[in-house]
Symmetry: C2
Amino acid sequence: MTTRQSDYLPGLLRNLPGPDEAAGDAVARRQARLTKPPGSLGMLEEAVGWLARWQRREMPRLDQVDVVIFAGNHGVTAQGVSPYPAEVTAQMVGNFQAGGAAINQIATAVGATLSVVPLMLDRPTADFTEAPAMTPEEFRSAVAAGFDAVVPGTDLLCLGEMGIGNTTAAAAMAAALFGGAGSDWAGRGTGLDAAGVAHKAAVVDRALALHAKALDDPWEVARCLGGRETAAILGAVLAARRHSVPVLLDGFVCSAAAAAAAKLLPGGLDHTMVGHCSAESGHRRLLRELGRPGLLDLDMRLGEASGATLAVSILRAAVAIHAGMATFAEAGVADGS
Amino acid sequence: MTTRQSDYLPGLLRNLPGPDEAAGDAVARRQARLTKPPGSLGMLEEAVGWLARWQRREMPRLDQVDVVIFAGNHGVTAQGVSPYPAEVTAQMVGNFQAGGAAINQIATAVGATLSVVPLMLDRPTADFTEAPAMTPEEFRSAVAAGFDAVVPGTDLLCLGEMGIGNTTAAAAMAAALFGGAGSDWAGRGTGLDAAGVAHKAAVVDRALALHAKALDDPWEVARCLGGRETAAILGAVLAARRHSVPVLLDGFVCSAAAAAAAKLLPGGLDHTMVGHCSAESGHRRLLRELGRPGLLDLDMRLGEASGATLAVSILRAAVAIHAGMATFAEAGVADGS
């Protein structure tokens, strides 16, 4: 007897523990006693409190930081939405596995473990201007692959993706979830010119029209317009919530993939922060919609978890400060009160 | 026979090598061949080129990263411009030396060596609402202390400061160098309320009026309105230029101290980047005047080189990416052209 689609997906939204507010309060009390003016470490203080609440630990730690990149291929590449051929998805997966990509260097620099999960790269999704990108069963499998990729006990999870054509899928999902037309969400991706961006926006608009009746259901948005890798990210975000693992999201595609969780569940992204606000134009708009700033803003637009993983260095410093600093009393420093 | 003040200071502006443009060009050529869309690493790519030009090396390195904090006391604290007593400067120097401050944890986290240079903490500068902050000889000594603190061969220098009252000095120097009144530059510092900020702005305005005749000379701005630690930062910035050492500047006080170099010499801060744009209100305005963005923007306002040193983690990732990534040819990835 197999689990039915209709049971499996809503089940992912059950048994999701909330934050440990007592741990967050303990962080705030300790921060107030450390040898610095109150609040002077800004987002570093907020980030430590966030880690504490979602790790459910008064003294958060970053001993095991996992980076997971999901990769998928997209039928919509038939519409000429990327300057790179679809073969590059598999080639870049090989590059990740060989250690030659940007994310390999960043993961090593910040002390994180990298996993790459290719999802049926020889079976692209359907062209979503003609049909739903995935069948219900294909979608369920991709979500499950993401859910299963999260290891309980991980201290921090960075999510990312690789998939030629997937900024088009992300633009379509963002428009379906938050409104607006293709032109509000389509950007240059890996390097389109203005005419290419306009064509991409029109492709998104066609898809939105074709699937209009299904798009009031966030699961259907992810199935009809997303890819296997974006479905997997959604599954991983929900698994992280289940296992009390804080998540750093990456750029536009990753955030659009995760955004369905915010529509499925009130506060569904509260256990996530966004590592970097991408130069891909839709990301800033999407982060406004989600009410989540990026920790970094360095004009990057690479994907492959690069922005999420770079931000680990900021969180490591924040955790080290929280654990290692002296209090006013310990240091014999007057506290200004 | 001793060097005269009138000879010593202009001498610091001579024998300053420019950037190695060939090294910068080599970085750009290699970046174009790495397995990522052109320009997709944004400021990381710019930062590697900047390091290469100023280290004068095609493959920049960060083996020796030095953090230097200069500390000084300010007579203007007599005007009630800080919620903390002046004794905290020496107490925090002790905290730095004992390893208990935020900067100790950040320096360890990013693999940098920390030095602290207290500058006659028992001899505060004069209250600059009544007299020039330093005599010419005191100023020359402080600049020289900063100049001598820079070790030739350092790969990257992070500069910072500690000095109760020094956001008032920074506001006065910024106003003198770039125009505007005290209210344009005075901020909350370590935690003033609105009335405290207004008082601080009035203190700055009195100083600007008292020293008006001297303020067309950037050296005199630094002598009449600055502190020993800000004079030392100016000396260190010039020494770094002399020795081809790239510099990361910290927040408002550090940037205001360094700003005189931009007025003394065209492109006088080209060998510097700003690690973090401070929440201290004058910093964003000052960075606009200097045409230099901050690498990070995390709502921090601590000083003590914290923002500069935190940004080292970003530069480390940028250098690792540049050195370690595969090219399109090496990885067998189609390059989209």
